[in-house]
């Protein structure tokens, strides 16, 4: 895997998560109070930095074979989750991730919540909303950056892709002052799911002792194979969905639709 592919994969994956975190931060900041929102965001970033500092270097202590087996399995399973959701959304079995709708619901909840501070934070609701949003989405960013970076023994480059994605999304969000509803999130999620699953399969099998024909070049076969199969699954489900008599997509606002 070359440096450009590593940075690009991590960048796109992290951009998707950053868009989701931005929606929550904007809802907290614009509705409640910016200072507490930034405090929550900063606290989450500190926790994430501690996780990276602790887990990142620790992973490099494992032999590469064991690391690839475990990380490959985790990435493949994680990638399958992304692909499952992206295909169900693309085929109409699940509603598309609606950043504008999620933003409206977060705003309504923030407006209804009681005011009040704790532990030196002026608005505890804004703090916790922002902290949880950034921490949960950030954990996915950290997971992807660490697994890709450690497998390639190039954590710095993976971190560069992740930080660049967060900065770009934050800059666009600040400029727009609204959730990034026009980002083709499902398409990005589909592409990232293909990459996570492909690399997970490649590294997992390598960790299990397999020698891929053509070594790293076999990824040029694995990635299109998984992409084509997923496109095929989407097409099949779209046809089945078109033949369905009633709309069955999960309503926007339900827990299932927003995950």
């Amino acid at each position: 895997m070359n440096a450009v592919a590593l940075v690009l994969t991590v960048f796109v994956a992290c951009a998707v998560e950053a868009v989701e975190a931005l929606t929550i931060v904007l809802a907290a900041g614009l509705t409640r109070e910016w200072r507490s929102t930034f405090q929550g965001m900063a606290a989450a970033l500190v926790v994430l930095a501690v996780v990276v500092a602790a887990v990142g270097p620790a992973l490099t202590l494992f032999p590469l074979g064991v690391l690839r087996l475990v990380v490959g399995a985790l990435l493949a399973v994680f990638g399958l989750q992304w692909l499952r959701k992206a295909i169900l959304r693309a085929s109409g079995y699940k509603d598309l991730h609606d950043e504008a709708g999620i933003y409206q619901r977060e705003v309504a909840a923030a407006q209804a919540a009681a005011a009040g501070g704790r532990h030196g934070v002026r608005d505890w609701y804004a703090f916790t909303l922002s902290f949880k949003g950034v921490l949960l989405e950030g954990l996915e960013v950290v997971f992807i950056a660490i697994t890709f970076g450690d497998n390639q023994r190039n954590l710095g480059l993976a971190a560069l892709g992740a930080v660049a994605a967060v900065l770009v999304v934050a800059a666009v969000g600040v400029a727009a002052r609204s959730p990034l509803a026009r980002v083709p999130e499902n398409t990005m999620k589909f592409a990232v799911g293909v990459m996570l699953t492909s690399f997970g399969t490649f590294w997992g099998a390598e960790g299990a002792g397999v020698s891929w024909p053509g070594n790293d070049a076999s990824l040029l076969g694995v990635i299109p194979l998984i992409a084509l199969a997923c496109a095929g699954y989407t097409l099949l489900l779209r046809r089945a969905r078109a033949a369905a008599p009633l709309p069955i997509a999960v309503p926007v606002g339900s827990e299932e639709a927003t995950r």
Partner: protein, 69 residues
């Protein structure tokens, strides 16, 4: 303490495994079988895991959409 441990475990289960544990189980079984074939039967089974992964995805999608079309 046990409640905290339960919710900590539930968070990581949801984070890694998600909605369908069967997909994760198939990937794990595929990896175990690959390792067996390579180290015991001396077969370079590079083709097995991609097949298992795509089968796991297909099965998971089928379960998610069953009875809805």
């Amino acid at each position: 303490m046990s409640r905290w441990l339960r919710s900590f475990g539930a968070f990581w289960y949801d984070f890694i495994i998600g909605d369908d544990w069967r997909g994760a189980a198939m990937v794990a079984a595929g990896l175990a079988l690959t390792a067996l074939l390579v180290h015991v039967a001396h077969v370079n089974a590079w083709w097995l895991l991609p097949v298992c992964v795509l089968a796991a995805l297909g099965w998971s999608l089928r379960r998610a959409t069953a009875g809805k079309s």
